[in-house]
Structure formats: structure tokens, C-alpha cells
């Protein structure tokens, strides 16, 4: 009886985790472990308790597990609905959304949500679904349609205004379109144009960042963020303070770091948002260059594993979705670390798993769950 009960339990567990990718699982556990350790330091002096972070991590894992159980086919069927609901909510936000800190980003649907978060997953879902539908009969026209499907939510989010999220959604969509096979002759000019624009921005930062110059389509605070990036020392106690202090924290960490909970910049309140967007500064100060190498390698492993899974995926939909989600992880990690180290402007992008914040963790868990599901169901469809 006992034996059979044990065997039964074993088989239940085995069933629950069948197809559960151990690589992804361990990488996620490793990052969660780092997150927990860092939070014990970074969370000090913030109103957030460690149990809150543990709860969020747990929720992310539960969501990951649940989503990993859902066959990709269901997602494919739900894609157009999720996208549709997302767009509807964005329009609703534009009409009667809640305004906080000068931006109309939230809406009350029983609970207050931020629909632009949904689009981070909904856009790649939709585009992957579209390319799946047009598989084999694809023409240049399809890229135009995909472009429009992408442009609509990006513009809606950008005018909230929320440039950071808009850029992330744009990136997610572009990943799908490029992975789907957008001809190189179209990609290259876009990349070159973008590169030249950024170069010009850096060269002419002095004149265009003058206080009385208004930029078309761009809000004052966004202009300030870009200008602060171009020259953080221009306003060391104001807008540049965050960037400068974060760089000091990172640089003062040195090769081995100052030691866990020994970061002076972090613990003496020089780091803004030290448990959320700037958590990397705390990590870098306390664990040094060595710790950063480990962290970046873990992220690289996560992305690499995700892309590998996508390469083994059975359908175009799952391939594109898996590839895009992996690259979204990359975008988060790269933009966040780039922002903390002063390479990129300060945009509100969390560091996956390390930053405190429920919504971001849910999105991450969802994405990781999809990757797991794709991995798990790779043979089911094929056979």
C-alpha cells in the first residue's frame, strides 16, 4: 500500500513536471536565489518585506508552472483574443484611464491594471499567430500588416506617455518580424538609420539639450532622461543624480565587491529605487565584477536556452513566440544593466527576477511558462 502510494505520488510529480525543462528550471532557480540574497540587502530600509519578494517569486513560479501545462495550440487560439482585449483596454485607457504622475497608464476593471504590460506578451503572440496563419503564402504585404499590428499598440502606449514600455513592446514585435524572415535589405537600412540618428544625438547633445529646445513628439521628462544620459554631470544634483550615484556604486564595487550588505552607496540611500529598477547597482556594489560576470552569464544561459528551445519547436508559431520571449528577456536585462551603468537612458525597465515588482514577475513567469510549454509539447505535435 505504502509503496504504491509513494509510487503514485512519484508519478503525480513526474506527470506534473513532465517536459519541465531542467535547464530553464535551474537557471530560474539560480536567478531567484540571487534575487533572494540581493533583496535581503537591497530591501533594507524600504517598506517592502522579504516575504513580499518571496511571495512574488513563488507566484511567478506557480504561473510558470501553470502556463507550462497549457498546450501552445491553446495559446495560438487565444492569441487574437488576448491581443484584441489588450487593444480594447489600451483604447479604454486613452479615453478614461487613471492619471498618475502625469501619465494615463492605468485603468480600473475591478482592480487597477496597466494594459500596456499585457501587450508585452500579447504583441508577440499576435504576430506569431499571424505569421503562422500566412505560412507558405507570405508576401511583402504580410510584413506591412504585421507592422500595423505592432504600430497600433506601440503608438497607443507611447502617447500615454510611456516611452519605456512602448519601446519594449516595439522590440518584442520587431523580434517576431525579424525572426519570421524580414528581408535583410529592409533590416539593414533601418539599423543604419537608427545608428546614425543616435550618433547625431550624441554629437549635437549640447545644442539640442538646451533647456528651451522642445523636441517634437517627446515629453519634457523624456527629453531630460535622454539628455541626462548624454551628459549626467550636467545636472549632478538633479536629474543626473541617479545615474551618477548608480555609476559610483557600480564602480566602487571593484572586482570582488564590498561584500553582502556592505554597500555604502546602497545602504546610505544614495541609490534611488534600489530594490526595484536600480537593484543591479546594489548587486554590482556588493558582489563586484565577479558577481556581475556570474549574473550576466546566467542571463545569457537563460536566453540561449530559450532560443535553443525555440529552434526545436514544432511550429512556426511556437518558434517565433519562443524566440521573441527569449529576446524579450535579453532586452530587459540589457536595457536595465545598460541604464544602471550609464550606457542607456533611465527608462523604467526592471531587471528580470531581481527587481521587486509583482507585474514584471508575473509577465516573466508567463514568458518562462510559455517557453517550458513549447519545450514540453515539442514532440506532441510532431508525432
Amino acid at each position: 500500500m505504502e509503496k504504491s502510494a509513494l509510487a503514485k505520488a512519484k508519478s503525480v510529480i513526474a506527470y506534473a513536471f513532465r517536459g519541465f525543462d531542467p535547464h530553464l528550471g535551474f537557471i530560474f532557480l539560480g536567478l531567484a536565489g540571487i534575487s533572494f540574497v540581493v533583496f535581503l540587502s537591497a530591501g533594507q530600509g524600504t517598506p517592502v518585506a522579504i516575504v513580499d519578494q518571496l511571495r512574488n517569486l513563488l507566484i511567478a513560479f506557480v504561473i510558470m508552472w501553470i502556463v507550462s501545462q497549457i498546450p501552445p495550440k491553446w495559446l495560438e487560439m487565444a492569441a487574437i483574443w488576448i491581443y484584441g482585449i489588450g487593444i480594447a483596454l489600451l483604447i479604454a485607457v486613452a479615453i478614461f484611464g487613471l492619471i498618475k504622475k502625469g501619465a494615463r497608464r492605468w485603468i480600473n476593471v475591478g482592480i487597477v491594471i496597466q494594459p500596456s504590460e499585457i501587450m508585452k506578451i500579447a504583441v508577440p503572440l499576435m504576430l506569431a499567430w499571424y505569421f503562422q496563419k500566412r505560412e507558405g503564402i507570405r508576401s511583402a504585404f504580410d510584413y506591412l500588416v504585421a507592422g500595423l499590428l505592432l504600430a497600433l499598440p506601440v503608438l497607443l502606449i507611447a502617447r500615454q506617455p510611456d516611452l519605456g514600455t512602448a519601446l519594449l513592446v516595439l522590440a518584442a514585435g520587431l523580434y517576431v518580424i525579424i525572426l519570421a524572415g524580414l528581408p535583410w535589405r529592409w533590416i539593414v537600412p533601418i539599423v543604419v538609420t537608427g545608428g546614425v540618428a543616435i550618433l547625431l544625438l550624441i554629437i549635437f547633445s549640447g545644442s539640442i539639450c538646451a533647456p528651451d529646445v522642445n523636441w517634437p513628439l517627446i515629453r519634457e521628462y523624456q527629453k531630460n532622461r535622454v539628455c541626462t544620459l548624454l551628459d549626467p554631470t550636467s545636472d549632478p544634483l538633479g536629474r543626473g543624480f541617479h545615474t551618477i550615484q548608480a555609476i559610483i556604486a557600480v564602480g566602487s564595487g571593484g572586482f570582488f565587491g564590498k561584500g553582502w550588505r556592505e554597500g555604502t552607496q546602497s545602504h546610505l540611500e544614495f541609490i534611488p529605487e534600489k530594490h526595484t529598477d536600480f537593484v543591479f547597482a546594489v548587486f554590482a556594489e556588493e558582489f563586484g565584477f565577479l558577481g556581475n560576470l556570474v549574473l550576466i552569464l546566467l542571463f545569457f544561459a537563460l536566453i540561449k536556452r530559450g532560443l535553443t528551445i525555440s529552434m526545436g519547436a514544432p511550429t512556426l508559431f511556437t518558434r517565433l513566440l519562443g524566440g521573441a520571449i527569449s529576446l524579450i528577456f535579453f532586452t530587459y536585462a540589457f536595457v536595465n544593466i545598460g541604464m544602471v551603468t550609464g550606457l542607456l537612458p533611465v527608462v523604467g525597465v526592471p531587471l528580470p527576477l531581481l527587481s521587486y515588482g509583482g507585474t514584471a514577475l508575473v509577465t516573466l513567469g508567463f514568458g518562462a511558462g510559455i517557453l517550458m510549454s513549447i519545450h514540453r509539447h515539442r514532440r506532441l505535435v510532431q508525432s
Binding site: 571593484g254 540611500e269 514544432p314
Partner: protein, 636 residues
């Protein structure tokens, strides 16, 4: 698998591989950036992080005491409960905070003004007193409400206090808050001494640690001795400036005490004797150059200046016709009038222009060219020799003497005695005055016709008038030099510097400055005549029944030219009335004290100045205190 096309899959794999390359490049970029920040530029950022977190909190040094020659403390510090506000924690308008505090504790408009001025000067960094001398009840009331006022606290602070208020105000001076100019000066001073200690900490603690400096008087001239060296605490602070813990500290070194040569009781007596009259009084110990009393009347209360004087008091002091802020013995220049005669007589002896027996027949006037110089005794003094010329203060004798000597000879004799010269007293702002000579006139005037010396101008120099203009300090110093047989001691107010811990004293008294070749027998002749002045001469009535033998000489200085009219004290407006002067010393055989004084616009020297000297000498020589003056008490 109809949907799976080979070329599609191939193209996808290719693109993923490119994506992995892209990800690798981007992450590589991050690693390069991190390597740059954390390995290559690590030292720079480590230093920045350190200076971020460490604040140097200055610990002010206790200022040295000012003590008179008999151990009476006349400048000291007291500790008082003070309501202090941490400027970095003031949110919004400081006036609102003060209004709220004023509901609990009385805060006067002056407190408010001083606080806000300190706040502005500091650019809102540091802790500043808002109200001092809190009573126990006020403190209790505040403590009960403290939770409402973050950054406001009660602590004991040191304040400077001059316990005798107006007494000796001009010589003591006062301290005040450091001004931008003071800061600049200290900065230069600091740059010179750098290297003696950790310059980083010194730089950051020294200047902020000094909140008050001596502005005038001894407080100013002995600033560096009195000040001490501020210490500091190295404190770890948060970005908001909140202290977390003390990392290290260096205690402050208290300033040294300055022991003055002043006898504060003598000073107090003389100030009382002046009452509401204006004037200057200087007493010197001839043998040492010690200044025993240095009176300037009227005076002011130095305590008013320490925390910044309020506008009304300042206006009153500054605009008063009586000029209470004016240091008269140091800066006021007056003609010495007849008090100059003993010096003239000595010159005549030393330069062989007169023997003591040489006598003139005085008709009561002296005509030179077409100008008649009057003697104030109508009809003259009859036959006058040197002693009689001093005892009766005969002008004609000195008109003739001046004519015989000439301006330059007088100048050359008087110069080493210190007339019209900087004495080098340890107070800032000493005025030189005028010891006239033909050379002086050339440099003093611009127009050629004014630069010429007229012989007629020589005559009145003999009776201490004309261009002669000296300070009372110079007059006392000159007398002391004569009494000291030509050994010139630099006059000084600070006698010794005392270590506050070991009580070890270090004398500041200089050695003699130089010697004038004076024949002792000539000096004795002058002294004998001056003794006779007090016995049978112009000031005999003031020295009746003195228990010691004192020498003296009266003087009455004209404030404006009478143009040959007879002076009438009663009908002359107050500020144009004559100044009463007097010089004196005692005891005759070995003078312990030499005095020069002036009572402005009071009239005859014998009548108004000599009695002050008599009472001062009674006290200083015999310890006798006049009955009409209330007994002087030490402030505990």
C-alpha cells in the same frame, strides 16, 4: 507535417544564430563597461563613494579666557541650553517652522533675524542656534513637543560673555560671526600652514569649525592664540545627510588664555570717575610697558555684538554724537597742550638750549612778526626759570624756547619718545597723529604755498598746540619713557599667554625697544618740577594730603581758535569747549605708574582732569577707594 518547410526552418535557425551573436555582442558590451567601471576606474569611484558617505563634522574649540593682571576673568565662555535647528532638515519656508516653534518657546525678532542670517550664510548646511538661554520650563515644554519638529533639538552650546558688560569694552573688543572676509583670510592662513597635519581633514574641519572670530580689541589681536584648533568627527552619513555612526574623531585643542596687564579694578574706577564725560585715560607701568588702564569713554556693551547686533542699538551707537564706538586713547588725536611742557623742558636741557637757571621776564605775551601769542595769565608770570615755567605753566617761556629750537629740532627730540609715532601696542587700528616738522608739512599738503613752513607756526608748537596732534596713548608712553630714563618699552595690553591645562605662562612682554640717551640728572630736574606742580602749582588743590609724592602737569587744549578773544566756558557750545588734559606719575622716587588723560570739552585740566588722576593714584598706590564711588565687585 505539411506546414514545416525546410528553407523556412533553415532561415529561422540562421536568424536565431545571428540573434545569439547579437545577444553575445550586447552582453560583451556590458561586460566591457563593467570592467571599465569596476576594474579600471575602480579607484576613482571608490574615492567618490567614500567622500559621499563621510562627512567631517567640525567640533569647535573652547575659546581662551581674558584675565586681568590680578586674575579677574573679563572675557569668558558660558554654556547654555540652546534650541538648535539642523538646516538640512528644514522643509520649505524656515519662517513657518519658527512660527510653529514660537508657539511653545518665546522667539524674539532678533533671534529670528540672526538665525535666518546664519542660515543664508551657510547655504543650509549645519546646525544653528535659534534661541539660547532656555529656561528649564522652556526646555521641558519643547521636549514634550519634540516629535513635531524633526531636526530641532536642545543642546548645550558655548557662548562668549563679557561679564562686566561696558567695562573696558574698547580694549577687550568682541567676537562676532565669521564673515566672508574673515573666511578668506583664514583660508590664506591655512594654505600657508598646510602639510603640518592631514590637509584634507584640516581643510574640511578648520574653516567650518570656526564660527566666531575676534573683530576688534584684544579679541582680535590675539585671535589665533584665543581661538584654539577645532577638532572634527568623521561621521558616516546618508544621502539625506543623516548621521549613521562616527568613524573617527579628533578632539579640539582649546585656545589659550590671555592674561592682560590691565588692572581691571583701576579701569573700573576710572570709568566710574569719568561718569558721563567723554575722554581717554591711559596708565602705563614705566618699567615694563604694561598698560594698567586703557579707558575710552563713552563705551559700549560688547555682549551686544557677539550674536550680531540689532539694528536699533547699532544705529544708536553709530550715529551718536558722542561716538561711543570710537577708541579714543588709540585713535583720538589731540593737541597735548601744556602737558607737553615737561617734554619741551627736557629737550631744552638735553640739547643745551636752556640751563635750569636761565630765566626770562614774562610780560604775558610774545610777539613774533606781526602776531602776538598770549599767555593765559594776564600781566605775565614775572621772572620765570625752567621749574617755574612748568609749575605755573608759563606759555611765554615755551614760545621763546620753541623759537630758539625750531620745528625740526623739536621733532627730532620728540620722535624717539614716541610722539606722532606708532607705539606698537597690541591693538589694531592705532593712529599715528602728527609730530610736525618742515619735512612733514611738505608731504602732508599738496599745494606748494601750503607746503612751506612759516616760522610763526613754530611758536605754538612749544606749548603743545599748532600742528601737534597725539594720542593719549602716545602721551602716556612718552611720559613713561622719560620716567624710565630713556629706556623705551613697547606698551602692551596682553602680559602673558596661559596654557589652560598646565597653567604655564608665557610672557609676551617684549624686551626694551630701544634706548634714548637721556641724562638722569636732567630727568630728575623735570620730575622735581612736576612734583612741584602737584605741591604748589596748577594741580596742587587736587593733590592736597596725598599719601605719596606724585608728579603731574596740567593742560588745556583749545578745540577751536579763539582769534584773540577771551575763552568763556559757559557761553561756548559743548563740543567746542576746551579739552582738559593731565599727565601724572607716582611715586616720585620709583614711579610705578604713568598716566595721561583727557576729558573732552570739559574746560581746565587742573579742574577736570587732575582729580581723576589723583583718585586713580590713591587706589593704585595706596589701595584707597573713593567714598563716592560704589565698591567694585567681582562677577562670580
Amino acid at each position: 507535417m505539411p506546414s514545416l518547410k525546410k528553407p523556412d526552418l533553415y532561415s529561422y535557425h540562421e536568424r536565431v544564430r545571428i540573434a545569439i551573436l547579437f545577444v553575445s555582442i550586447c552582453f560583451g558590451l556590458l561586460i566591457v563597461r563593467l570592467f571599465w567601471l569596476q576594474v579600471i576606474s575602480h579607484n576613482k569611484y571608490a574615492t567618490l563613494a567614500e567622500s559621499n558617505r563621510i562627512a567631517i563634522v567640525p567640533v569647535p574649540a573652547n575659546r581662551g579666557l581674558l584675565i586681568d593682571r590680578n586674575g579677574v576673568v573679563i572675557g569668558r565662555n558660558y554654556s547654555a541650553l540652546t534650541l538648535e535647528v539642523d538646516a538640512s532638515q528644514i522643509k520649505g519656508n524656515p519662517d513657518l517652522l519658527i512660527d510653529e516653534l514660537a508657539e511653545i518657546i518665546h522667539i524674539g525678532p532678533r533671534d529670528r533675524r540672526n538665525f535666518k542670517r546664519a542660515l543664508e550664510d551657510s547655504r543650509n548646511m549645519g546646525t544653528f542656534p535659534l534661541r539660547s538661554m532656555l529656561t528649564e520650563t522652556e526646555m521641558a515644554r519643547f521636549l514634550a513637543n519634540r516629535y513635531r519638529f524633526p531636526g530641532v533639538d536642545v543642546s548645550a552650546r558655548n557662548f562668549r560673555e563679557y561679564p562686566y558688560n561696558e567695562l573696558a569694552s574698547h580694549l577687550i573688543g568682541y567676537i562676532g560671526r565669521v564673515s566672508a572676509k574673515d573666511k578668506e583670510q583664514m583660508q590664506n592662513e591655512l594654505e600657508k600652514t598646510r602639510g603640518s597635519e592631514d590637509p584634507y581633514a584640516l581643510q574640511r574641519s578648520f574653516l567650518p569649525g570656526i564660527q566666531y572670530v575676534g573683530k576688534i580689541g584684544i579679541e582680535q589681536s590675539y585671535e589665533k592664540v584665543l581661538r584654539g584648533v577645532p577638532g572634527y568627527d568623521e561621521v558616516e552619513i546618508t544621502a539625506g545627510g543623516k548621521p549613521v555612526r562616527t568613524l573617527s574623531s579628533k578632539p579640539s585643542v582649546p585656545g589659550k588664555n590671555v592674561i592682560l596687564s590691565i588692572d581691571i579694578k583701576l579701569q573700573a574706577l576710572v570709568e566710574e570717575l569719568y561718569g558721563k564725560r567723554r575722554g581717554a585715560f591711559v596708565a602705563i607701568e614705566p618699567e615694563t610697558g604694561d598698560i594698567l588702564a586703557f579707558v575710552s569713554k563713552p563705551n559700549f556693551n560688547p555682549n551686544d555684538f557677539v550674536e550680531g547686533i540689532d539694528a536699533t542699538t547699532w544705529k544708536e551707537l553709530n550715529e551718536s554724537k558722542e561716538k561711543p564706538l570710537y577708541n579714543r586713547p588709540l585713535k583720538g588725536i589731540y593737541p597735548p597742550a601744556s602737558t607737553y611742557k615737561p617734554f619741551m623742558a627736557l629737550a631744552a636741557l638735553e640739547l643745551n638750549k636752556r640751563s635750569p637757571e636761565d630765566a626770562i621776564a614774562d610780560p604775558g605775551f610774545f610777539t613774533f612778526g606781526n602776531h602776538t601769542f598770549r599767555d593765559d595769565k594776564i600781566g605775565g608770570h614775572g621772572m620765570v626759570n625752567m621749574e617755574k615755567s612748568i609749575v605755573e605753566s608759563c606759555d611765554t617761556y615755551y614760545y621763546l624756547l620753541a623759537r630758539d629750537m625750531g620745528a625740526n629740532m623739536m621733532h627730532d627730540f620728540m620722535k624717539p619718545l614716541g610722539f606722532g609715532q606708532i607705539t606698537g601696542i597690541d591693538l589694531d587700528g592705532e593712529v599715528r597723529g602728527v609730530l610736525p616738522s618742515t619735512e612733514w608739512k611738505k608731504s602732508a599738503f599738496k599745494k606748494p604755498e601750503q607746503q612751506k613752513w612759516f616760522e610763526g607756526e613754530t611758536i605754538s608748537l612749544g606749548i603743545g598746540q599748532g600742528y601737534n596732534a597725539f594720542t593719549i596713548l602716545q602721551l602716556a608712553h612718552g611720559l613713561a619713557n622719560v620716567l624710565n630714563y630713556g629706556v623705551v618699552m613697547k606698551p602692551h595690553i596682553a602680559k602673558a599667554i596661559e596654557d589652560p591645562f598646565t597653567r604655564q605662562k608665557e610672557l609676551t612682554t617684549p624686551k626694551e625697544s630701544y634706548r634714548i640717551d637721556l641724562k638722569p640728572e636732567n630727568v630728575e630736574i623735570i620730575k622735581k618740577a612736576m612734583v612741584e606742580v602737584n605741591r604748589s602749582g596748577t594741580s596742587a588743590s587736587s593733590f592736597r594730603n596725598a599719601g605719596f609724592i606724585a608728579g603731574g602737569k596740567t593742560g588745556t587744549a583749545q578745540v577751536f581758535s579763539l582769534n584773540s578773544k577771551i575763552y568763556n566756558h559757559a557761553t561756548t557750545p559743548e563740543f567746542l569747549r576746551d579739552h582738559a588734559l593731565y599727565v601724572a606719575y607716582a611715586p616720585n622716587d620709583k614711579p610705578k605708574i604713568a598716566i595721561a588723560l583727557i576729558v573732552e570739552n570739559s574746560g581746565f585740566g587742573a579742574q577736570h582732569a587732575a582729580p581723576i588722576a589723583r583718585k586713580a593714584l590713591d587706589y593704585y598706590i595706596e589701595g584707597k577707594w573713593p567714598k563716592e564711588i560704589p565698591e567694585w565687585k567681582r562677577v562670580p
